[in-house]
Symmetry: C2
Subunit: 232 residues, 2 copies
């Protein structure tokens, strides 16, 4: 195993509808003296992508926010007071249908991209064209978990990387077959990247270097089918 480096991409600034986010990321990478290399994974928070795609809604009241959450949700899984755990149209289970009011201008809320895998593919293609490299691209959001306190970043849109690393049928150093070891490697990449992005610092992208996870996964690979899920 080689060492892993995670480089925050700073200086991107505020993203608005119609901006060329791929170009903003490439410019920022250059301006901080870095160069994208083959095999790098560019990780971008969904908020930057959603803003570029115009997935921002004006809201003037708490009631409007609540209505927006209900509208974005495909299903309400649990409800307690103001806390609503939802399934989004993409299949992700998270609080408030991932409708978010932080890191956006007051009186606005940011929705998830309509098709985050497609957004990831689009950004990846543009960055590859601009830089002449072959990269992976991961779009993240910040989700809570049942049972464990605190939020972690997960992948909600991916392109050019595996979602799951499947070790089934391989053997450990003792010769035991690894029976059910499917690792959500792209969620681990998302979590790792959040360590350099922070929540209040306005850093919407990072470069992960040193991993060999090229593949053609989709974020839907990460969605556990309801029939297999014991906790809905």
């Amino acid at each position: 195993m080689s060492r892993l480096t995670i480089v925050p991409v700073t200086g991107i600034g505020e993203v608005s509808k119609g901006d060329d986010l791929a170009a903003l990321i490439c410019d920022a990478v250059e301006q901080q003296g870095d160069v994208l290399l083959d095999g790098d994974i560019v990780v971008v928070t969904h908020k930057a992508v959603s803003k570029e795609e115009g997935r921002v809604v004006e809201i003037s009241s708490e009631a409007e926010y609540r209505a927006l959450v209900e509208d974005e949700a495909a299903e309400i899984i649990r409800r307690r007071g103001d806390l609503v755990i939802t399934r989004t149209k993409h299949g992700f289970i998270c609080a408030n249908a991932a409708v978010d009011r932080s890191n956006v201008a007051g009186g606005h809320a940011v929705l998830l991209p309509v098709d985050p895998d497609r957004s990831a593919h689009r950004l990846r293609t543009r960055i590859q064209q601009r830089t002449g490299t072959t990269i992976g691209l991961v779009i993240t959001d910040t989700f809570g978990r049942p049972w464990r306190r605190g939020l972690v970043d997960v992948a909600i849109g991916i392109s050019g990387v595996k979602a799951i690393e499947d070790f089934r049928g391989t053997f450990d150093t003792h010769g035991n077959e690894l029976v059910v070891t499917e690792v959500a490697v792209v969620d681990e990449i998302a979590a790792a990247s959040d360590l350099v992005m922070g929540k209040a610092t306005g850093i919407p992208a990072a470069i992960v270097r040193g991993l060999d996870v090229a593949g053609d996964g989709r974020a839907s690979d990460l969605v556990r089918p309801a029939s297999e899920d014991l906790f809905r």
Copy 2:
């Protein structure tokens, strides 16, 4: 934000009861030409710690394994066929009470440390004494999640680091107060480290460099109280 580096610690080899794991880690770091620095976080898989502490049990049949799982569990949360979701005595909710038969000699199973925070403190203290540094220490295990396919590494024992980074009361770049943003930073460290450790490669430790997360967290900080949990 500075960049983050994650260095796998190779060459530790098989750990047995009574070994000095802290010394094995320090030796391996030296032998690969690395040096521990103040602020580094040493991440260790629980399996190495459990083996050092003799938390390995002989099992001669599937029935014995099942009995061991029931014995290690404080509570059975869900059961479907052979899959048992449990609460461990530490409060962690995971499959099979975290009793594991991979990466151990055939006919054996590895249990969690009795007190993983105490194990983390012990390892940290010994590594600090040996190296003259101030470090953090995180012990990890690999857990599944409801709703999302694939496993990710999480922290089960910590020393010298925060468990949760609490952004409540801080403001984003738009001047919005971040209301409920508690990030499980030590779980993100665990997930990040798994990217260089792999599941079949016998690499039980990594060094995470470039984070400022010193603190006095405990793994129990990560356990969501049953009263706040909507999914038990």
